[in-house]
Amino acid sequence: MESIYLLIPLSIVLVGVAIWAFFWAVNRGQFDNLEDSAGLALEEDDATSAASESPPRRS
């Protein structure tokens, strides 16, 4: 049971690390555009075919 003395503080540290990593990612702009990136692979490079209505752009 004594291992809990180590495991509980460790769990707090791990949450702290996860939160720090998430904050770091947000500050780096990883979550700035969640919608367009999803459709990036489907988008054609040809600008003329990209009628403004057809792809669901939500930027």
Binding site: I4, S11, I12, S52
Partner: protein, 718 residues
């Protein structure tokens, strides 16, 4: 028009405009999330001497102020807003983008922390819960509780900070907002848990607190996204302009970088490929493909050649242009559009107001109910009084109710703007959904509004192409509207330099040494040797007009035609489109009378016109839509503005508006039903606080996600 460009006054990034001795500014006030916040700002501004009018829109947190520059300054107005606890943020430009980005990132961090912490807390809570059944050494239970306390504290004070701050601001202003009941629940639960932790006995609610905050923030995040999307149209417009332009020095011909604010009327500018055309102007040299999608929503670029008008805010997609500035930056099409939109968005929608009133009515009763529940349980079983009070507070949070309408309206506005329809008045969506008659103007609405050559007859010596080229060369010098029909046929090889306008007859000029004349009778081209060509010019129907009229009929709408044009022309159009009710040769007052007659029958009429000539009729219609394309935008009046040069968006827009109204009703019904159902269950003590938190949050989320359905493109497939 001024001879110099008066740069819009920039104070800390705020664009203001002055007209008729009144200053006007629109800005975002950060932190508005309910009707009470809006009312507080409104009240503060009304107290300020010199403020003529103030509007606060709760949906997109926009504040619009008109003031007397002699009595107040922008600085005092912004200061007053700031003193009520809301930060005024410029609407356009870099700082507005940064403000939106920061708001989004802050929200993401708060959600992330609350989410990660909630997961962890649930594990400890699981341990405590299992321990309560199987027996746990009080020493270990104490360690778990303290761990929960450590992790839950940043959730409440960092993630929950906007909620707590909102409640404090509400208290200071002595208004009842949603944040008060929510904060009361959070603080009570947290305080009791801390107390029990140190006492070493009793329940702890740390996991419920964190989860409640997490779900609350998720709902608010979705609502914030909707708000940002709705304001993106304006922002995209306003941010389109570059800070610097290339001005051509008339002496040397070299292009020098100059701030946009220093550009004067008549200046010559160079716009390279890929650059934004900064102001309205006329092409002096070069041709280029110009993408006007920002202003018109039309994605296909247009070729613009010497003499053509180009609009500020459009993008030069290929080729280099030299242009003269024909309109000041603050009078350009773009600026006019931004200003119109800003004012429109600063208005408060009636639908939203009703929901807000409902919410604040609701909160008073919730607080009374909570007190009663606590009191009753105190006499029955004091140990169950506290969880019941918490559950009631959480379950009754009218979050879903108060965001039900704004999120749907914001989503519909964003959806419509992608169809090229700008919502100028916030009630317009409701109007668009409930109309039953569409009255259409003919010229410029159903027709292109630009004469085109429909028939050519030549006497034999001339080919059609030659005749058109010669006619175009001559008509290039004419101011007559008919002349526009020949513009596409201009060629650089056939030009006329000495053309004269003979009033009442036509144009005369020499081409390759031969004198040509075009004009009466009809449109006849003739030279001295008697070579002849006759043209017929007509205003063609828009290609999508028949499909649009059919689509409107499919929506169950009655379609009428009301035109000032001659009977023959109107009949031809009406027959082509299959419109039974068509009236010709109507003066504006006749149109108005027709409209009034329809309204007297109880019909709700949409008037679609070009926005300039149809002003009075548009104003009298239940809902009006103006074809506000190109440079006429700034003068266009209407509840809705159709930016695209096609009619097809109208039936689609009506379908979107109907969906929006349906979703608003669904949302209101759903959230009211949820609250009604949850309150009794929570009051009798059958709902633990964490279930209440989950239910409340899910009901908000359901409302938001329901509204997001409007953003999908399902209706455009056909």
């Amino acid at each position: 028009m001024n001879s110099t460009v008066t740069a819009p006054l920039l104070l800390e990034g705020h664009w203001t405009s002055e007209s008729a001795g009144e200053g006007h500014v629109v800005f975002n006030a950060e932190g508005i999330h309910c009707g009470n916040c809006a009312r507080a700002i409104h009240r503060a501004l009304d107290e300020l001497p010199g403020v003529i009018r103030a509007d606060v829109n709760v949906v997109n947190s926009r504040v619009s102020v008109t003031w007397d520059p002699a009595k107040a300054s922008l600085g005092t107005i912004l200061g007053k807003v700031a003193s009520t606890g809301f930060r005024p943020v410029p609407l356009v430009g870099e700082s507005a983008v940064a403000a939106q980005r920061n708001e989004r990132r802050d929200a993401q961090k708060r959600i992330g922390l609350a989410g990660l912490a909630s997961m962890q807390l649930m594990m400890y809570a699981g341990g405590l819960y299992a321990g309560a059944f199987d027996g746990i050494d009080p020493h270990w239970a104490e360690i778990l509780r303290i761990t929960c306390l450590i992790i839950a504290t940043p959730v409440l004070f960092y993630s929950g900070a906007p909620i707590l701050a909102g409640a404090i601001a509400d208290l200071r202003r002595r208004v009842l907002g949603m944040d008060i009941t929510v904060s009361l629940a959070l603080v009570l639960a947290y305080a009791a848990s801390v107390l029990n932790t140190f006492r070493g006995s009793g329940e702890v609610y740390f996991d419920s607190v964190a989860m409640f905050i997490f779900f609350l923030l998720l709902g608010r995040y979705a609502e914030m996204r909707g708000r940002h999307q709705a304001s993106n149209v304006t922002d995209a417009l306003a941010q389109a302009l570059p800070a610097e332009v290339q001005r051509i020095d008339p002496a040397t011909g070299a292009a020098l970088r100059t701030p946009l604010a220093a550009v004067r009327l008549g200046d010559q500018l160079r716009v390279g490929s890929g650059q934004v055309i900064p102001v309205d102007g006329r092409v002096l040299a070069g041709t280029a493909l110009v993408d006007e999608s920002l202003l018109t929503g039309e994605s296909a670029p247009h070729r613009r050649a010497v003499g053509d008008l180009v609009l500020g805010g459009s993008i030069n997609a290929g080729g280099t242009l030299n242009m003269t500035v024909t309109r000041a930056a603050d009078q350009s099409t773009l600026h006019g559009l931004v200003r119109l939109l800003e004012r429109a968005q600063a208005e408060r929608p009636r639908l939203g107001l009703a929901a807000e009133r409902m919410a604040s009515w609701f909160i008073v009763r919730v607080l009374i109910l909570t007190a009663l529940v606590g009191l009753i349980w105190y006499f029955i079983d004091p140990s169950r009084a506290f969880p019941a009070v918490l559950a009631v507070l959480v379950a009754t949070c009218p979050c879903a109710l108060s965001i039900a309408t704004p999120v749907a309206i914001a989503a519909a506005t964003s959806r419509l703007s992608r169809l090229g329809i700008l919502v100028m008045r916030s009630d317009a969506i409701e109007g668009l959904a409930t109309l039953d008659t569409v009255m259409l103007d003919k010229t410029g609405t159903l027709t292109i509004g630009q004469p085109t050559v429909t028939r050519i007859q030549t006497s034999g010596e001339l080919s059609n192409e030659q005749a058109l080229a010669i006619a175009a060369a001559l008509e290039a010098h004419s101011q007559h509207p008919i002349a526009a029909a020949f513009r596409p046929y201009r060629t650089p090889t056939v030009t006329c330099t000495d053309a004269r306008d003979i009033p009442g007859v036509g144009i005369e000029g020499s081409i390759d040494g031969v004198i040509w004349r075009i004009g009466q009778p009809g449109i006849t081209l003739s030279d001295e040797c008697g070579r002849l060509a006759r043209f017929e010019v007509a205003d063609e129907l828009r290609p999508d007009a028949p499909a649009t009229v059919q689509a409107l009929r499919d929506l169950g709408l009655q379609v009428q035609l009301a035109s000032g044009d001659s009977l023959a022309a109107v009949e031809r159009t009406a027959r082509a489109l299959g419109i039974a009710q068509a009236a010709a040769a109507l003066k504006p007052e006749d149109k108005l009378a027709r409209l009034r007659a329809e309204q007297a029958f109880g019909r709700r009429v949409l008037m679609l016109g070009d926005g300039i000539n149809d002003g009075p009729v548009l104003a009298a219609a239940d809902i009006s839509m103006a074809m506000g394309r190109g440079s006429s935008i700034a003068h266009a009046a209407g509840d809705l503005l159709l930016l695209r040069d096609s009619l097809g968006s109208l039936p689609k827009g009506i379908a979107v508006a109907r969906d929006a109204l349906r979703i608003v009703r669904q949302n209101l019904r759903w959230s009211a039903a949820y609250n009604m159902a949850a309150i009794p269950i929570a009051a009798v003590g059958l709902m633990p606080p964490w279930v209440a938190a989950l239910g409340m949050s899910l009901s908000s989320l359901a409302v938001v996600l329901n509204a997001q359905r409007l953003l999908r493109n399902t209706r455009e497939a056909h």
